[in-house]
């Protein structure tokens, strides 16, 4: 079938990895073939006329044809019929992709925020993507971060319930031929049934600011046992984490669910916001000319009311974590920041 998928250009699409995606590809093949035929008729006709009716002598006359009702009827009616087929077919495929209200065998709450995804399973397992490691390690100019892996079982119906904490984002998995916007203040759903095992990339396709192109995740489709194993490992890891010290817990929050590392570095480099290296106990200069020594109160205020004091030279881009962060989590983060000398 390889020559077929090449000719129909479906070989450029990622392997169809869900039950629904094969249907999209069939529609695509129909669109491509009917489109090619229309193109050949139109442009082929035009090219033939150009050569056949080239002006050869300066006084060459043309035919006087004002219209032709039959031809005009046919070339209006036939495209209309083809378009109605494409419409109806598209609708039926769309209906399978949407499946609003259908409950999944596995349900995951997905929260988008500039510029990360949080995946939360029913049993509180939480994955944050991308990670803070570079995707292309040997290229210093690459800005892409390595996507974190989200695991789902093959053959089951998976429902992702999407929302956003800040602006519009869009959850797109090319291999699933599916996409859905994550809208602040709303819930939308992204339902799919994977049939292929493997790793599939998630992109954000709604422009969302500076690091829009960096908002990736990896969905790993595995069989049922591996999925169960992965879940129990994650749960064990979570149990271990609660025995850790405050600075370590803070580090996990910083890199993980709160996603601070998306905008603040800990090694002194500048990302979107100021670095945290050497923050604690040192002087900060603000855009309005004032300054303070960074202490517990200042850090807490910056987390809860980020716009109160804007560090000189940075945009007021951070949104408030009010309601998303608990009191002792703030303490843990401060402990972590203290370690960044």
């Amino acid at each position: 079938m390889n020559w077929f998928s090449f000719i129909t250009a479906t070989s450029f699409m990622p392997v169809p990895a869900t039950k629904e995606s094969g249907d999209v590809d069939n529609l695509y093949i129909f669109l491509l073939v009917s489109g090619l035929i229309s193109f050949i008729i139109l442009i082929g006709g035009m090219v033939i006329f150009i050569f056949k009716y080239r002006r050869k002598t300066e006084d060459q006359k043309s035919a006087y044809i004002t219209h032709n009702t039959l031809a005009e009827f046919l070339w209006s009616f036939i495209p209309f019929v083809i378009m109605m087929i494409i419409f109806a077919w598209g609708w039926s495929v769309f209906h399978d992709l949407r499946r609003v209200g259908e409950k999944g065998d596995v349900e995951v709450h997905v929260t988008a925020r500039q510029w990360a995804w949080t995946f939360k399973y029913a049993n509180d397992i939480e994955i944050n993507s991308p990670s803070d490691k570079k995707l292309v390690e040997n290229d210093p100019d690459s800005t892409l971060l390595k996507p974190e892996v989200v695991v789902v079982p093959v053959g089951k119906t998976i429902r992702f319930i999407l929302t956003s904490d800040d602006v519009l984002h869009s959850f797109y998995v090319p291999a699933f031929r599916n996409k859905m916007d994550a809208v602040p203040g709303r819930r939308t759903t992204f339902t799919f049934t994977p049939i292929e095992k493997g790793d599939f990339t998630v992109f954000c396709t709604e422009y969302c600011g500076t690091k829009h192109s960096n908002m990736m995740a990896t969905i790993r489709v595995v069989d049922g046992e591996q999925f169960a194993l992965w879940q129990s490992e994650k749960l064990a890891g979570m149990a271990g984490a609660s025995n850790k010290g405050p600075a370590e817990r803070g580090e996990a929050l910083f890199k993980g669910s709160l996603g601070c590392s998306g905008c603040h570095s800990i090694d002194g480099s500048r990302i979107v916001g100021p670095t945290f290296k050497g923050l604690y106990g040192n002087k900060r200069d603000f855009a309005d000319g004032s300054s303070v020594v960074a202490d517990d109160a200042y850090i807490k205020q910056s987390i809860l009311v980020p716009t109160a004091k804007i560090v000189a030279g940075f945009p007021p881009a951070m949104s408030s974590f009010q309601g998303r962060i608990k009191e002792d989590e703030i303490k843990d983060i401060i402990e972590f920041i203290k370690t960044l000398k």
Partner: protein
């Protein structure tokens, strides 16, 4: 010619006489100069955007700088180049002449539209120096209203004023077409260019106010904190998209209908044949204008709107495809048994049909809900709209430029330079944008500063193509200066056109016609 002929160019002298002129022909030229300068700026941004995408990762600029360039490229090209382009430049110049009028109905309003475009452009442009905007030309909320700088305010204020320029031009054209036609020029005898401009004018007058209101609401939210679009203030973020596309979908027809008018003129003249299906072409323009108000939701299939809404919008969108296809068939049927000459303007017309067919067919893909879910907001869409808007409108603009150049200036534009320019633009265009269809298939989202290494080769091809396009337009520009300096004298009707502008001297006299013409038949009567 022994003595200097009296025409609109030497009727009055000095820069002040231009800046205060009420002559539609001079205003057309002023639009040409202004819009071509904007086009140059937008083109430089395009080349920079493509240069950045030559390799994955940082090639030249940081992500923030890239996002700004992408925004200015889109905003300048859409609001200051393609939307006003053909109507303001060529519409102003030829519309009154084509219907046998001395000027537009409201000459002062016409001059005022030009000034509004300039003021709007200056305000929008000032953000380049004050606070750059990085929202993309669509200004989607809540990013534009809460998550980015205050530069958005002057930016959309400028666009708001430009919108009024567009409304005034439209109003002027509608009244002109209804009231100032020469005796015998019934609605069924006006040239197809005029039909296209007339349909466009209706869209301009009815759709643009919606954009204006939307932008005002955005400003109100951003400055006063009124909760309209921002969910944190109780607003609805998707509402903005509804408003925005309620204007911007008809706007894509504001961009393309005038181009279709130009193509009708070119195909008839260079095939030396009566246009096939005059009524079908004329009324399909009106049909497109009407239906295009009801399809805005096809930009929002994945926005979370209901499945039913998606399906309904998909259905209506398919209906717009039909009159569009009819036009293509009519032009090709006009060439049948014609007497065809492949001068540069005809090459641009053929290029238009080639690119527009690809753009139109891929539009059907996107109109089909199930397919659009995969392609929405990927490079497939970028390729699609460049094929229709740029392949369509810019091809027509170049064709129109070379075709009417002799009428405007009295000098012939070098056909050779026109052809060279065509070769570069046409081939470069396909090299730039065809690979983007494949990138879309592979799943590369649009507005991306950085991309996966697998997308590299196709992006490089695309960047290379952008240099070819750039070269083509520079050749085209050189052709303008070359023709002004060295061009041959044109005579009244160098190409054998049948519409009224070819019956008067080139350049035309101040008031177009010495004697009001009287029409006894339709246009394009090549027998």
């Amino acid at each position: 010619m022994a003595h200097e002929q009296h025409n609109y160019l030497n009727h009055q002298k000095g820069i002040w006489s231009w800046l205060t002129t009420l002559d539609h022909k001079r205003i057309g030229i002023m639009y040409f100069i202004a819009i071509m300068s904007f086009f140059f700026l937008g083109g430089v941004f395009a080349l920079l955007v493509r240069a950045e995408l030559f390799t994955p990762g940082k090639t030249l600029f940081s992500a923030d700088v890239y996002n700004r360039m992408m925004t200015y490229h889109g905003a300048i090209m859409v609001f200051m180049v393609i939307v006003p382009g053909i109507p303001a430049i060529f519409g102003n110049f030829v519309l009154p002449i084509m219907i046998g009028a001395k000027d537009v109905a409201f000459p002062r309003l016409n001059l005022m539209s030009w000034y509004m475009l300039m003021i709007g452009a200056a305000i929008t442009g000032s953000t380049l120096f004050l606070e750059n905007v990085d929202t993309g030309w669509t200004f989607y909320t809540p990013y534009s209203s809460i998550k980015t700088g205050m530069g958005v305010i002057p930016m959309v204020l400028g666009v708001f004023i430009i919108g009024f320029s567009s409304i005034l031009t439209g109003l002027n054209f509608i009244v002109t077409t209804h009231k100032l036609r020469a005796p015998g020029m019934t609605m069924n005898r006006i040239p197809l260019m005029v039909w296209a401009l007339y349909s466009t004018a209706i869209l301009q007058v009815l759709a643009t106010p919606v954009l204006a209101i939307t932008l005002l609401l955005l400003i109100a939210e951003k400055t006063l904190g009124v909760g309209i679009f921002d969910p944190q203030l109780g607003g609805d973020p998707v509402l903005f998209q509804h408003f925005f596309w309620f204007y911007s979908h008809p706007a894509v027809y504001i961009m393309i209908l005038p181009a279709m008018g130009v193509i009708s003129e070119l195909v008839a003249t260079y095939s030396r044949k009566i246009i096939f299906g005059y009524t079908a072409i004329a009324y399909s323009s009106l049909a497109i204008a009407g239906v295009s108000f009801l399809v805005w939701g096809h930009h929002m299939f994945v926005s979370g709107q209901s499945e039913f809404a998606g399906v309904l919008f998909s259905f209506i969108t398919m209906l717009v495809g039909v009159p569009t296809a009819i036009k293509l068939f009519n032009w090709i049927a006009t060439m049948y048994k014609g007497s065809i000459r492949l001068d540069a303007p005809m090459l641009f017309a053929i290029g238009f049909m080639f690119l527009f067919t690809i753009g139109g067919l891929t539009g059907v893909y996107l109109a089909s809900t199930g397919m659009d879910v995969h392609f929405h907001d990927t490079y497939f869409v970028v390729a699609h709209f460049h094929y229709v808007m740029v392949g369509g409108t810019l091809m027509a603009l170049m064709g129109a430029l070379i075709y009417w150049f002799p009428k405007v200036t009295g000098k012939i534009y070098s056909d050779l330079l026109g052809r060279i320019s065509w070769v570069f633009i046409f081939s470069g265009f396909n090299v730039t944008f065809f690979p983007q269809f494949i990138l879309g298939n592979m799943g590369m989202p649009r507005r991306y500063y950085d991309y996966l290494p697998t997308f590299t080769e196709l992006n490089q091809m695309s960047t290379f193509g952008s240099w070819l396009i750039g070269t083509g337009f520079l050749v085209g520009l050189f052709g303008v200066f070359h023709a002004l300096m060295k061009g041959k004298e044109a005579g009244n009707n160098p190409f054998g056109g049948k519409t009224l502008e070819w019956t008067i001297p080139s350049p035309p006299p101040h008031e177009n016609f010495d004697k009001t013409p009287v029409l006894t038949g339709g246009p394009y009567e090549y027998r």
